[in-house]
Symmetry: C2
């Protein structure tokens, strides 16, 4: 059977610390790069507060709209960690002690250290599939098309390897970046022509300041390498004609 | 007249480069910290692709739901910059050359350099109010409760000063951070009690790894300093009882 051509996902970031500006989200980038590599496109990201009703409503909307939903944050031991109970409510299933998670946590901590706070991390939606955590013991969990991961970036990152085989993606999304010593307005018209000639390819243009100098990165994205190559040739052609310098970036 | 007690906003990040993971969003944090300081709480953030219909629909939803909407990205000169035309469509008003913006851009560039690409940046929703750009000339714009800013973080940052008087906020949101050399599960129960005693205060708990050591930052947020002080005292009490070390962070 052929793979589904387009597989999409949304990312739901649960956390007041992102909305207050105290913490900058980096998990979106980590998840998106990983998902692209296994053929899943991220179509939407939402950041919402630690409020149960909002989490439940948003989850129910996103899980019906996208093939996959990845949540980050809210699965620790403190009072503001309410993702597991919210996922259970969204699916209208029980929120209970997960035996396997309990065992993992019990053996992770030294005798006597598996206290009430830590036991809370074994509470999960009924029959959730665990997402193993090689960094700090406490697992994430998966219910149908919803995957719940922690908010701490280094821990989240370490859990993706074990998850790759659980996700059925489409064709991997490839990208090529061409960086130029120019400004956007110098290439805008030429680039529009390339985009119009290659409607199924996503072409983005991003100005940058680096080492005190201006530049523009053109990013070409598609699941079809030959289409990327074709755009690349057309872009290199006008770059040469305009005598624009290419830079590494 | 008393100020409205709660004023909220959402941030709409328009850009494939965030959804692909290529670029990490930092504008949310910049906007949120600035908005909090003038009494506006950020209740939701969405990241969406450079697709007109999605921008129009999302804008119409957010502008009816929140007091303010701030968009970032998509106001440059290239084909993927479609925020201005999308805002015009959302409000069902004309998308046309803005005379004042045209003049600003014309005088910003050297004679002969105000080319077609750059002229595109003078196209705006009818009667938009300009948001001046002290860094790179091209202004942002404001229609009713929607404020459209560029995606480049340093430029966005430089435009907020001129915008502060345009926003009518509530009481400024204050916050206090207490950082401890402990792990979350050691303080989870005590912290839950403090939260239950202070329901109107937002108390968050965030683990960190710094210089190879674990810690937890407790963040107390409220528009009422006396409520923050009260929580602080209750937290310091259990910190002392548990002999937990406080750290700078």
């Amino acid at each position: 059977m052929d793979k589904k051509v387009k597989v999409n996902a949304s990312i739901l970031i649960i956390g007041n610390e992102i909305l207050s500006g105290r913490t900058k989200d980096t998990n979106t980038s980590t998840l998106a790069i990983w998902l692209n590599s296994i053929g899943v496109n991220v179509d939407e990201v939402r950041v919402i507060p630690d409020i149960e009703k909002i989490i439940v409503d948003t989850l129910n909307l996103l899980r019906s709209k996208y093939d996959y939903v990845f949540t980050t944050g809210g699965i620790g031991p403190t009072h503001d960690d309410i993702t597991a109970q919210s996922v259970a409510k969204a699916f209208e299933i029980k929120y209970e002690i997960h035996k396997e998670a309990y065992k993992i946590l019990e053996s992770y901590y030294k005798p006597g250290e598996f206290n009430e706070g830590r036991q809370k991390m074994a509470w999960m939606p009924e029959n959730a599939k665990l997402i193993l955590n090689p960094t700090s013991g406490a697992p994430g969990f998966n219910v149908k098309n919803v995957f719940s991961l922690p908010g701490v970036p280094s821990i989240l990152k370490s859990m993706l390897g074990g998850l790759t085989n659980e996700i059925v993606g489409g064709k991997p999304i490839k990208s090529l970046t061409i960086s130029l010593r120019t400004v956007e307005s110098e290439i805008a018209n030429s680039l529009t022509k390339v985009q119009n000639d290659n409607k199924k390819v996503e072409i983005g243009s991003y100005p940058f300041f680096h080492a005190g100098r201006l530049g523009v990165s053109i990013v070409i994205r598609s699941d079809d390498q030959s289409k990327i190559d074709n755009c690349n040739l057309q872009i290199l052609k006008f770059v040469k004609e305009k005598k624009i310098e290419m830079v590494d970036r």
